[in-house]
Amino acid sequence: MKIACGTGAVALSARDLTAGYGERPVLRGISLEVRAGEMLAVAGPNGAGKSTLLKVLSSSITPWAGEVELLGRPLRDYERRALARLLATVAQENSAAFRFTVLEIVLMGRAPHLGPFHLETRHDLEVAYAALDRFGLRELARRPIQELSGGERKRVFLARAIAQEPRVALLDEPAAFLDLRHVAEIFARLRELRAERGMAVVATLHDLNAVALHADRVLLMKDGMTMAYGTPEAVLTAENLSEVYETAVYVGRNPATGAITILPGVNEAIEVRR
């Protein structure tokens, strides 16, 4: 069922990234590459360094060593606003300090495209409304962001990132807090965007079944190191996953979709059943 979207040029790449907080290293020698239209999933147990990796890729954190390149140019050569026109990030937790409306938040995605004193133009509004529509948010446009549920807020910030019209989107747990229908919709919308605009996606994902279903490549991390890197078929094996997650993992094929299906903790579950 997988459609390979990634046929384009390299959008984002990283070589031998080492980074951390204070003295404590969190990433140790991570390399990756994602092409236009591709989705790279970053998976691994809690504390593996997935969010830190995204922060280095978004240049929130400067790596100790190694280099990130966006569209063939080192990340540090970009001026902030120029970078914001090419690279959008959605953090795991999203909030705003004041009662901005949903539309105002999504319009903030247009900020890197606007001149210093310009208000948003009609074109910016159209882009924002298209982003709202894409995530089914138009009816919420006037609502203050504080009044929304966690899942709705997640979609608002995804829409904001899309309104940036980025070439690469870095998404930290885009499917967290969402119910089944919205998880499916998010991945469908991301697939559309990848196909339509050649947008590359790097997403941290806890749900390995979603990784198997939607990612073109997987980076499996543990303790800040790469444990496996490649296609879902090559990376998501029972052997790799059992080692990384330190629990018995069953890997099979879903008869309905043909995609890899992963069940954690099967041995224990089977024993309890017996």
Binding site: Y21, K55, S58, S59, S60, R80, R81, L83, A84, R85, L87, A88, T89, A91, N94, S95, A96, A97, F98, R99, F100, T101, V102, L103, E104, I105, L107, M108, G109, A111, P112, L114, P116, F117, L119, E120, R122, L125, E126, V127, Y129, A130, D133, R134, G136, R138, E139, A141, R142, Q146, Q164, E185, E192, E196, R197
Partner: protein, 362 residues
């Protein structure tokens, strides 16, 4: 069902924007130039009306017509010699305090931030008092008082900001606590100065603690107007950056804001503005809290409108408070700082109760 329909429509039309949003659908949900002009014009008219009322009423009854027409009348002397300078000073200082409050609240993502609560005004008052005591003997007091107030405000801001950082992140609650502690500390330092200096200074020290717009000189007015106008221009120019900073430092940076540069600029500008205001009028508390909050409730959170609207609202509010200070127990006077604090204390509690949990737990 209708939401699904909208999504379906989005699918059909692909990237191209779906039905262009009609003007009515957008009204009030985001900032337009027309809305900005209408709101600011209305507020300007209200502010002028308050100024006119403040000119017409006071401890003595005067006729505005006679004051303007007859240059030799006592009404003329009262209006142009006493009331107008005072009204002007109140308007400028109120505008400064409200604009600074709105900007600081965005910068630290905390609706309770304000020059007074963060200890910046207290630092400025301490600087002003020390300069007053030191330079009244050796001369140059007129220049030394505001400069010393700026310096102490800036120092206080930097110290509070540094101490509120936990592992490189600004903690909103810690910031508020550190600010409150600094505020109390500066109050104590001022009392200490008061107890060791000549009795002759006590009146001036009380003036700075209570806040007053009484009898400003034109030099003072010009100084605070210049600092204010420069500051307003810089804060208004950063309206969009302040919007983006409301989402968080990393988020703002990812949307193209040079976070460190913007933060340094805003802290420096607001410290100078507060220093200037405190050096001429003492500590007028809570204006920077009440006005931006009311404006936000009425007009929304967009700082491109919030900052200029707070400037006008701050001017109107402070002129009204000063009018009350002059007439409530006429012919005696209340300190205007006491009036704003009497309104502001309960208001602070109200905001804390209403917004505390949801806005401070970032």
């Amino acid at each position: 069902m209708s939401r699904t329909a909208i999504v379906r429509q989005g699918e059909r039309e692909g990237v191209a924007p779906t039905s262009a949003p009609g003007p009515h659908e957008l009204e009030g949900a985001h900032l337009t130039r027309a809305r900005m002009v209408a709101v600011l014009l209305t507020l300007a008219i209200v502010t002028l009306a308050v100024a006119a009322a403040a000119a017409a009423f006071g401890s003595v009854h005067i006729s505005l017509v006679r004051a303007i027409m007859e240059a030799e009348s006592p009404d003329h002397a009262i209006l142009f010699g006493a009331r107008l300078p005072r009204i002007l000073m109140g308007a400028i200082v109120g505008a400064v305090l409200a604009a600074v409050g709105a900007a600081l609240q965005a910068l630290v993502r905390n609706p309770l931030a304000e020059g007074g609560i963060l200890g910046i005004s207290g630092g400025g008052a301490f600087g002003a008092i020390v300069a007053l005591v030191v330079f009244s003997h050796i001369g140059g007091m007129e220049a030394a008082v505001p400069i010393s107030a700026f310096a102490a405000s800036l120092l206080s801001t930097v110290a509070v900001y540094r101490l509120a950082q936990v592992e490189g992140r600004l903690e909103p609650f810690t910031l508020l606590l550190v600010g409150v502690i600094f505020n109390a500390f500066w109050g104590a330092a001022i009392m200490l100065v008061n107890s060791v200096v000549n009795f002759y200074y006590t009146h001036s020290i009380i003036f700075w603690l209570m806040g007053s717009f009484e009898a400003p000189t034109w030099g003072e007015t010009a100084m605070v107007a210049t600092a204010g106008a420069t500051g307003f221009a810089i804060l208004i120019a950063h309206g969009r950056d302040l919007n983006l900073l409301s989402l968080g430092d990393d988020e703002a940076a990812e949307l193209g804001v040079e976070v460190d540069r913007v933060r340094r600029t805003i802290f420096a500008v607001t410290s100078v503005m507060i220093g200037a205001a405190v050096s001429v009028s003492g500590i007028i508390s809570f204006v920077g809290l009440i006005v931006p909050h009311m404006v936000r409730l009425a007009l929304g959170a967009d700082h491109r409108l919030l900052i200029p609207a707070s400037i006008l609202g701050g001017a109107a509010f402070t002129m009204a408070a000063d009018l009350a200070a002059r007439v409530v127990i006429a012919p005696s006077e209340l300190p205007v700082g006491a009036i704003t604090a009497l309104c502001g204390g309960p208001f602070f509690i109200y905001v804390l109760r209403r917004e505390g949990r949801k806005s401070l737990a970032l």
